[in-house]
């Protein structure tokens, strides 16, 4: 009899603890979600919008268009390769954004987008998926002026246009 009472008390206290944790997590989730920059609405998920974005083809940019904008200082190149390849050589002025890092950089790029810059993501090789992934991740975050510079690194290098080495 004693042990049943003890057991039921244990179960009861476990449920109380469970509710405390749920309530704390809910409170913190709501507070953090409302103060953070990449806030999402608590209810309502537009699956139609997501599907549309997933299917949307991201436009490409050719070498001559890219170079033209480069001379006018209207383009920001985004190197979607890993940091080591970036250090070994990249288009002058490019910033290194691996697909995973895109969400972290989206906010600062948005500011640049408002200033009228076009973004061109590139990696190495015609089949390389990284440039498309970074471009897709940025588009998903509301940056509309992203274009994929297919096989960008090789094409740019072969054309003899300016490249840099190092972290910057």
């Amino acid at each position: 009899m004693m042990s049943t009472k003890y057991l039921s008390q244990k179960i009861y206290s476990s449920f109380i603890e469970l509710i405390i944790i749920l309530a704390t997590a809910l409170l913190i989730a709501i507070i953090f979600n409302s103060i953070r920059s990449n806030y999402i609405p608590l209810f309502g998920f537009s699956s139609a919008a997501i599907i549309k974005e997933q299917q949307a083809k991201i436009p490409t940019i050719t070498l001559s268009e890219a170079y033209d904008l480069y001379l006018k200082n209207k383009i920001i190149f985004i190197d979607a390769r890993d940091p080591f390849s970036f250090e070994e050589g990249h288009i002058t002025g490019a910033i290194n954004i691996y697909p995973d890092e895109a969400p972290l950089q989206a906010q600062s790029l948005k500011v640049k987008a408002k200033q009228g810059f076009v973004f061109a993501t590139y990696c190495d090789g015609p089949q390389c998926p990284l440039s498309k992934e970074t471009a897709h991740a940025l588009t998903l975050r509301g940056i509309s002026t992203v274009k994929v510079f297919v096989n960008g690194w090789s094409v740019w290098l072969n054309a003899g246009y300016p490249v840099s080495k190092g972290k910057k």
Binding site: I21, A25, I30, L42, P103
Partner: protein, 149 residues
């Protein structure tokens, strides 16, 4: 402060190790998900199990729940409640994984943030393993007090 009941008896020490391991796993998983609620929402959507209006809510709530569970495990407060929740969570994940593996959907797991790999049977085994660890914590954990005088 004196160390008590260490390294024997075996079960409470084993439960302590399990608890701390779970804490690390939950903390990492929670942070990875919390960084990117949009991507995590898409990962949840891809599971095709929840109605649209619930997706964002889960995407916002679940990461912080995991972090709070991790903190409870580390500090050692509300451990039984946290272990109960952890057990239920792993059970839910197992059901969601099984349904989609059976459906044959090739989707991102979303286990540790949106960029974790696509679902496969190994993930289900891993989930079951973590479920068992949660049960051990639920039944055998004695808290920090048990080890320190």
């Amino acid at each position: 402060m004196k160390l008590l009941n260490f390294p024997r008896p075996f079960l409470p020490v084993f439960a302590l190790i399990c608890r701390l391991a779970l804490a690390i796993i939950f903390f990492y998983a929670g942070i990875e998900k919390a960084i990117n609620p949009i991507d995590f929402a898409v990962a949840i959507y891809n599971y095709r199990l929840l109605p649209d209006y619930a997706i964002n809510f889960v995407a916002v709530f679940l990461p912080y729940l995991e972090i709070i569970i991790a903190i409870s495990f580390i500090i050692g407060i509300n451990v039984r409640g946290a272990a109960l929740l952890s057990t239920l969570l792993f059970l839910t994940f197992a059901i969601a994984l099984t349904i989609n593996l059976a459906r044959g959907l090739d989707i991102s797991c979303g286990c540790f943030g949106a960029t974790s790999g696509n679902i496969n049977w190994f993930y289900l085994v891993r989930d079951f393993f973590l479920f068992c660890i949660s049960l051990i914590v639920l039944f055998y954990d004695r808290g920090w007090r048990y080890f320190f005088d």
